[in-house]
């Protein structure tokens, strides 16, 4: 691995990694779809009620101080003419699948990092040898505007590793195009703060400060021993040492280890009946994802956030496999009954873990109730595939169409590549 080679040298290779970031993705897509919103402050939020949270703000809203995480009521004070919209995940997914298809023309080495970010490694690509990557980046920007929509703008960054490419993409928003190489690395760091570096959270910044590091340049100058033993106290010290110098340490694909869903309740409640209905819907959504991926689970996790912001969670490893919604619901209720304080709950989530592929399947000698339940789950899923999600549901979920609605999968990109490829095959 690169980080074991403790070179202090900057990576002086030509930048071959391109990071593409759709500017204010969801808000820009809404402005593209509705021309009357262009040039106006727009916020795509979790709910349009005053307590909702802004998920994506347009650049016009950002200019007035509204950003991701701003509460709607604050956003309306900062920017009284802001247009608040509910998210439309199908639309965002489609635009990103289009973007994926468009970028795929340039190289196969394309990785979606999240629903609005892609990274391309051109180092093994033969298609573009006669043009510079800056020219390719300019062409990508033009093609996006021509083929997806005139309001769609992307930031593009080029670097010798993913970290520098992402840092470059964030230098000039919106519609930026920047390159960070060994020649301008130190000059770029000199204009940034520690928190501008992707991966440096408030807590990491505090750790660096305690160790006498206050700027990215001081971070760059720190020795590998200092970062390893005094700052991060883990292998992260080695990784940061090489990451900052432009060596690739982040090109690692992690497999999926769990499936989960959560839900924030509008008014915190301890009503057992209501909570059971929400839990059932969370179990159904999680179960659908588990089964669509042809997996069983061997464990379940429940977490609860109470009205007073205190937190409780518990995991359970199960002897029996979890496959049907009823299996999951039964186990989650078992955990739910263990909570020590039954206070009003503001947010709750479940996840299943210990994933195993369903094939090859261990056949049972006799039909057991569990086998029958698995067959029922498969039959119900195929009916929902044919006639639409939640056509057939457990009775406990009746009249819950608008509860635990479909959400945009922030952050996680584990299934995106496969899903985009499937989508491109079916629709484009």
């Amino acid at each position: 691995m690169v980080y074991l080679n403790q070179t202090s040298r900057l990576n002086d290779a030509e930048p071959q990694v391109m990071h593409i970031d759709l500017n204010s993705a969801f808000a820009s897509i809404e402005q593209q779809a509705n021309p009357l919103l262009r040039g106006k402050p727009v916020g795509v939020c979790s709910y349009t009620s005053p307590g909702g949270i802004i998920l994506a703000a347009s650049y016009e809203a950002k200019a007035k101080g509204v950003g991701t995480g701003t509460v709607n009521r604050d956003a309306q004070v900062l920017c009284p003419d802001i247009v608040l919209l509910m998210p439309d995940p199908d639309k965002y997914f489609y635009v990103n699948a289009l973007l994926y298809a468009l970028l795929h023309r340039y190289t196969d080495d394309l990785t979606p990092l999240s629903i609005d970010e892609f990274v391309i490694d051109f180092s093994h690509s033969r298609k573009i040898h006669n043009r510079s990557l800056v020219q390719i980046a300019q062409e990508i920007k033009a093609v996006i505007k021509r083929e997806i929509g005139c309001w769609m703008r992307v930031n593009i960054g080029l670097g010798t590793n993913r970290f520098l490419a992402k840092t470059a993409a964030g230098l000039h928003k919106p519609d930026g195009l920047d390159v960070i190489s060994s020649k301008n690395l130190e000059q770029t760091y000199s204009q940034l703060a520690l928190r501008d570096l992707c991966g440096i959270s408030f807590k990491y910044e505090a750790r660096l400060n305690v160790a006498g590091i206050y700027t990215p340049l001081e971070f760059l100058e720190a020795s590998v021993e200092h970062l390893h033993k005094r700052v991060f106290k883990s292998i992260e010290g080695y990784r940061w040492y090489h990451r900052l110098r432009g060596w690739e340490v982040d090109s690692v694909a992690y497999g999926r280890k769990s499936f989960g869903n959560d839900f924030a309740i509008y008014i915190a409640t301890d009503d057992r009946k209501q909570l059971s209905r929400i839990l059932m819907k969370l179990c159904e959504k999680t179960g659908r994802r588990l089964r669509k991926n042809n997996t069983y689970a061997r464990g379940i996790h429940l977490w609860l956030l109470y009205e007073d912001r205190s937190y409780w969670h518990k995991s359970l490893k199960t002897h029996r496999i979890l496959y049907s919604t009823q299996d999951i619901y039964r186990s989650v209720q078992q955990i739910f009954n263990h909570q020590p304080d039954k206070q009003p709950i503001a947010k709750l989530g479940i996840s299943v873990f210990g994933l195993e592929p369903t094939s090859p399947e261990q056949l049972e000698l006799f039909d057991t109730p569990a086998t029958k339940q698995r067959q029922i789950a498969t039959a119900v899923d195929s009916m929902n595939d044919r006639y639409g999600e939640f056509t057939i549901t457990p009775a406990r979920m009746m009249n819950m169409d608008e509860t635990v609605i479909k959400r945009v999968p922030f952050g996680s990109a584990k299934d995106l590549k496969q899903t985009y490829e499937q989508f491109v095959k079916n629709y484009l």
């Binding site: 897509i29 509705n34 009357l36 919103l37 003419d81 247009v83 639309k91 635009v95 929509g149 006639y387």
Partner: protein, 84 residues
């Protein structure tokens, strides 16, 4: 967006190279609206039924139209005047 959900009359044209019909005129509540710009279209599946969603404007209102490829009907799902 103001939710509407009404089946409406639509005059659409099939454009060479775009692979799908494009709505041009909508008749809604006995008024005709000429779509001047389609902002975005996207497909949406409800079970086996494929819908195409069109968002387009006549300059004063933006219309979200749903074309059901099974029933071959157009539904006006929502309108927006672009104001809060």
């Amino acid at each position: 967006m103001n939710e509407v959900h009404e089946v409406v009359d639509v005059l659409a044209v099939s454009k060479k190279g775009q692979g799908i019909v494009v709505p041009i005129i909508i008749k809604w509540k006995n008024r005709y609206y000429r779509i001047r710009e389609i902002g975005l279209t996207h497909p949406k599946r409800e079970g086996r039924i494929l819908h195409h969603i069109f968002e387009g404007t006549d300059g004063n209102l933006t219309f979200r139209l749903n074309y059901n490829t099974e029933s071959l009907q157009w539904t006006l799902e929502a309108t927006s005047d672009g104001l809060p």
